[in-house]
C-alpha cells in the first residue's frame, strides 16, 4: 500500500516518463482483454463474486447509455389526436361494458348448461398419419411398433379414462388434452374461455383416433 503521496511527490520532483501517456493508453486498451482472461479462468466463489460485481457494473453502464440516448430516442407522438372519437356520454362505456355483459351472460349460460355455440375453426385440413402420430417402439428389445403417440392437441370428454397401458394403442399425452378453448368474439374483440362440448370428425385419419 502506498504510504503518503510519494508517487505525486516523485512526479513533482522528477517529472514523468516521456512515454507515460502512451503506456497508460495501452494499459487501458489491454484492460478489457485482461478482464476477459480473468473472467474465463476464474471459478468457484471468486467467480460468483466477480460476476456479481460485473453484473452491477453492466447495469450502471446500460443506464448511462440509456441516459445518453434519451435525446436521440424516438418517442411516441403525444400530440397526435387519437382515432375513434366518441362523445362524452359514450366514453368509458362502449365495448367494455358490452363485453362485460356478454361475458356475464356467457358465464351464466355456462352454469345453466344451456348455451351451446358452434364456433367456426379457421383452418381444417386433413392431417397425415405420419404428422399426427409418432410411432412408439415397445418390447424389451424395442422391436414392436404398434403403439402411437398423438403429437397434436386432442379433445377428450369429461368421462374419458385411459385404457390399460398394455392395450393402449393411442397414447394421448396429458399436456395435449384440451377441455377448454379460447374463443374470440369477432365484433367485440373479446376472448372467452369456453368448455369444448365436442368436435366434428372430418378427415378419416382423425376419426381413427376418436
Amino acid at each position: 500500500m502506498p504510504q503518503h503521496e510519494h508517487m505525486e511527490r516523485h512526479r513533482k520532483l522528477h517529472g514523468r516518463r516521456f512515454d507515460a501517456e502512451e503506456r497508460e493508453r495501452k494499459r487501458d486498451a489491454r484492460l478489457a482483454h485482461k478482464r476477459s482472461e480473468f473472467a474465463q479462468k476464474v471459478h468457484g466463489l471468486r467467480a460468483k463474486l466477480y460476476n456479481q460485481r460485473r453484473f452491477k457494473e453492466k447495469a450502471t453502464m446500460r443506464k448511462t447509455i440509456a441516459q445518453h440516448n434519451e435525446r436521440s430516442n424516438k418517442h411516441a407522438n403525444d400530440e397526435a389526436v387519437a382515432d375513434g372519437a366518441v362523445p362524452a356520454y359514450l366514453l368509458d362505456r362502449e365495448g367494455v361494458s358490452r363485453a362485460k355483459v356478454l361475458s356475464n351472460t356467457v358465464k351464466q349460460k355456462r352454469k345453466e348448461k344451456a348455451g351451446k355455440w358452434e364456433v367456426p375453426i379457421p383452418k381444417v385440413k386433413p392431417v397425415a398419419d405420419d404428422e399426427m402420430f409418432k410411432v412408439m417402439r415397445t418390447g424389451s428389445k424395442k422391436n414392436k411398433a404398434w403403439k402411437r403417440v398423438v403429437t397434436k392437441c386432442t379433445f377428450v370428454g369429461d368421462n374419458f379414462t385411459r385404457k390399460a397401458p398394455k392395450y393402449e394403442r393411442f397414447i394421448r399425452p396429458t399436456g395435449l388434452r384440451m377441455k377448454r378453448a379460447n374463443v374470440t368474439h369477432p365484433e367485440l374483440k373479446t376472448s372467452f374461455q369456453l368448455d369444448i362440448l365436442g368436435g366434428r370428425r372430418i378427415p378419416v385419419q382423425i376419426s381413427t383416433l376418436i
Binding site: 382515432d83 372519437a85 362523445p87 362524452a88 356520454y89
Partner: protein, 590 residues
C-alpha cells in the same frame, strides 16, 4: 277536366277542397283531407261523427248507447294554480280543444275586439282530473284489490269532449261540473322538419357536439379532429375553422348572450372563442382528465354572462370566470367521475356523478338557504340512484339556454345591435329576467330529473328537499339523455333500450313510449314551441315525433351513414342540425 276531378273528390271523402287546384302549390301534402281556410293556411277538418239526439225511455230518462254520450256538459276553467276563471258553463260535448280555447280567450280578455283576436290567438291545452279505479293485485298478499289513481288527462289528445267522455265513461260523471285546467301553448308554430337541405362536410373525424347559438344565428360544432367549426346558418357554409384543441372536442356551449362560445376537450383544456372572429380568447387547462360537461350561468342571474361551470372525469367541477380566466370555486366532493353538470335558474349548480349521487352546490356568494353561503359550498346531496347517474335535466334548461332571446332570435323592444354596449346588456338582462319570471309563474319549485344506469329516472325538487319526488321506471336499459320541453310541461328520456319515453313535466307521470328506433337512442331535442321532438340514434337516423301524443314517428330522417352523435334544434325556426360519426353535419328543414 279539373272540375270533374274536384267533384269526384267531394263525393269520395265528403271533404271539400275549395282553395283551387288540388295539385297546386298551395297544397303541398295532397292527401285530400285538408281544406283551405281562405288565407293560405290549412285546418284539419273535424272528422268525428255527429252525435245523435239521445233517446229517452218511457219515464223520460236518457238511454245511452255504447257510442252515445250526453250532448252538453257543465265545465269550469281553472288555471295552473287552481284559481277558477269565469263561471261554470254549459258546453256542447262536440267542442274540441280549439272551441274551448276560443271560449276561454273570450273569458280571459272580454274586451278584445275581433281584430285583436285574429292577430294572436293563444292556443291552450286542457287537462281534466280523472280518478280511476284499477283492479290490481296486492304485491305482498297477491289478493285482488282496487287502487284509486288520480291523473291529469290531456283533452287535446281527443278530438272533442265527447271522445274524452266516451273513453272515461265509468270514471267521469257527466252530472257534475268538469274542472278543466288550462295551460297556454306557444303562440307560434314551428314547422316540422322533413328533409335534409344541406350536408356540411369539413370535419375529418366524427362530430361529437353541435349547438345553435341562443339567437339561432350561428351553428357551431366540435369534432374528433380537435377543431371547433362555426357555420353560417343562412347559407350552410363554413365560416370559421378554429384550431387550438389538442384532442377530441367533447362538449361545447354558447353563453346566454351569444357573445362567447366555450369548448372542452379530452385532455381537460377549456377554450373560450369569439364566434364572430373565430379566435381563441383564452385557453385554460381546466382539468386533469376529459371535460364531460359545460354550462354557463343563466343571464337572469348575472347580466355579464361570464361565469361557466365545467365538470370532468377527474371528479371535480369548477366555476370559472372566463373574463379573468380565474377558477372561482372548485366543487370537490364526488368520489368518481362527474357525468353531467347543470347551472339551474335558482342560483344552484347540480352535478351528477358515477358515484351514484347528485350534489347541489351554491353558485353565488351570498346565496344558500340562509343567504350567507359562499360560492362552491355544498348545499345538499341527493341520494337515490343505484348506479351511475348519466344525465340531468332542469325544468328551466331551455329558458336559461335561450337567455333574453325570443323565438325570432330577437330581444323584444331592443333596437341596439352592439352587444358590447352597456345599454344592450342592461336591456337584455331585463328581458331575460322578465322571461324567466313569466316562465316560472307563481311559487313553483325548480324540478330536476336525473337518469341513470339503473334504468330509472328520479324527479327532485333540489331547491327544497334531498329526497326524490318520484321514481320513474319503465326503461329497460341505461337512460342516456333527458330533455325538458321549452314550457317544461313534458320531458323526454332517451335510453339505450331504443325507446324514448315522454313524462309529465310537473308530476312525472308516464305519458307515452316512442318506439321506432332500431338502435340505442343517444339524444333528444325539442322544437321551440314544444310541439315536436327529434331524436338521434345509433341506427344512423333521426326521427321526428309529434308531441305529446304521437306514438309512431311522424318523419324518419335518414341520410347519415353512421351513428348520429349530436343533435340540436334551432331556438328560432324549424331547422335541426345533426352531427354524425360519418363526419358530416346535416341540416334538416321543413
Amino acid at each position: 277536366m279539373m272540375e270533374q276531378s274536384v267533384a269526384a273528390t267531394k263525393d269520395l271523402s265528403g271533404v271539400a277542397w275549395t282553395g283551387g287546384s288540388l295539385v297546386g302549390s298551395l297544397n303541398p301534402s295532397n292527401h285530400g283531407y285538408r281544406t283551405s281556410d281562405g288565407k293560405g293556411g290549412y285546418i284539419i277538418t273535424n272528422t268525428h261523427k255527429k252525435y245523435k239526439r239521445s233517446k229517452r225511455d218511457a219515464d223520460g230518462n236518457m238511454i245511452l248507447d255504447d257510442d252515445e254520450v250526453v250532448a252538453n256538459l257543465v265545465v269550469q276553467f281553472c288555471n295552473r294554480e287552481g284559481e277558477t276563471v269565469g263561471d261554470a258553463m254549459d258546453v256542447p260535448t262536440s267542442a274540441g280543444s280549439e272551441e274551448l280555447g276560443s271560449l276561454l280567450r273570450s273569458m280571459l280578455n272580454p274586451d278584445d275586439d275581433e281584430e285583436d283576436a285574429n292577430r294572436g290567438q293563444i292556443p291552450y291545452a286542457f287537462f281534466a282530473k280523472v280518478t280511476r279505479k284499477i283492479e290490481t293485485k296486492n304485491p305482498s298478499t297477491l289478493e285482488p284489490m282496487v287502487q284509486t289513481i288520480t291523473e291529469d288527462v290531456d283533452i287535446t289528445d281527443y278530438n272533442s269532449l265527447a271522445h274524452f267522455l266516451r273513453q272515461f265513461r265509468n270514471d267521469v260523471s257527466t252530472e257534475q261540473t268538469l274542472q278543466l285546467t288550462y295551460q297556454p301553448l306557444a303562440l307560434f308554430k314551428v314547422r316540422p322538419v322533413t328533409r335534409c337541405t344541406d350536408t356540411l362536410p369539413g370535419h375529418t373525424e366524427a362530430i361529437l357536439h353541435v349547438s345553435y347559438s341562443p339567437d339561432g344565428q350561428h351553428l357551431a360544432s366540435g369534432g374528433g379532429d380537435a377543431t371547433v367549426r362555426f357555420w353560417d346558418v343562412h347559407t350552410s357554409t363554413p365560416r370559421r375553422t378554429c384550431k387550438g384543441h389538442s384532442d377530441h372536442v367533447l362538449c361545447t356551449a354558447w353563453s346566454c348572450d351569444g357573445v362567447r362560445f366555450a369548448s372542452g376537450d379530452k385532455r381537460g383544456n377549456l377554450i373560450i372563442w369569439d364566434p364572430e372572429k373565430g379566435e381563441a380568447k383564452g385557453t385554460i387547462k381546466a382539468h386533469s382528465k376529459w371535460i364531460t360537461g359545460l354550462d354557463w350561468e343563466p343571464m337572469h342571474r348575472n347580466k355579464s354572462c361570464e361565469r361557466l361551470v365545467t365538470s370532468s372525469k377527474d371528479g371535480l367541477a369548477k366555476i370559472w370566470n372566463v373574463r379573468t380566466k380565474r377558477c372561482e370555486a372548485t366543487l370537490a366532493g364526488h368520489s368518481d367521475s362527474i357525468e353531467s353538470v347543470k347551472w339551474g335558474g335558482e342560483g344552484l349548480i347540480y352535478t351528477a356523478s358515477r358515484d351514484r349521487t347528485i350534489k347541489v352546490w351554491n353558485a353565488q356568494d351570498g346565496g344558500g338557504p340562509n343567504g350567507d353561503s359562499r360560492a362552491g359550498v355544498l348545499v345538499r346531496t341527493l341520494v337515490g340512484h343505484g348506479h351511475r347517474v348519466n344525465t340531468l335535466a332542469v325544468s328551466c334548461d331551455y329558458i336559461c339556454r335561450t337567455g333574453p332571446f325570443d323565438h325570432y332570435g330577437k330581444i323584444a323592444g331592443i333596437t341596439i345591435k352592439d352587444r358590447e354596449s352597456n345599454e344592450w346588456r342592461e336591456a337584455a338582462h331585463r328581458a331575460a329576467v322578465e322571461k324567466y319570471a313569466a316562465f316560472k309563474g307563481s311559487d313553483e319549485p325548480e324540478r330536476l330529473v336525473s337518469g341513470s344506469d339503473d334504468n330509472t329516472l328520479l324527479v327532485w325538487h333540489p331547491t327544497l328537499d334531498k329526497r326524490p319526488i318520484k321514481r320513474l321506471t319503465g326503461h329497460q336499459q341505461a337512460v342516456n339523455h333527458i330533455a325538458f320541453s321549452p314550457d317544461s310541461r313534458f320531458f323526454a328520456s332517451a335510453s339505450f333500450d331504443k325507446k324514448i319515453k315522454i313524462w309529465n313535466g310537473r308530476t312525472g307521470d308516464f305519458l307515452n313510449t316512442l318506439t321506432g328506433h332500431v338502435g340505442a337512442v343517444y339524444q333528444v331535442a325539442w322544437s321551440s314551441d314544444g310541439r315536436y321532438l327529434v331524436s338521434a340514434s345509433k341506427d344512423s337516423t333521426a326521427k321526428l315525433w309529434e308531441m305529446p301524443s304521437g306514438k309512431r314517428a311522424r318523419e324518419t330522417l335518414p341520410g347519415h351513414e353512421d351513428e348520429v352523435y349530436a343533435l340540436d334544434w334551432s331556438p328560432c325556426g324549424g331547422s335541426v342540425a345533426t352531427g354524425s360519426k360519418d363526419r358530416t353535419i346535416k341540416i334538416w328543414k321543413h
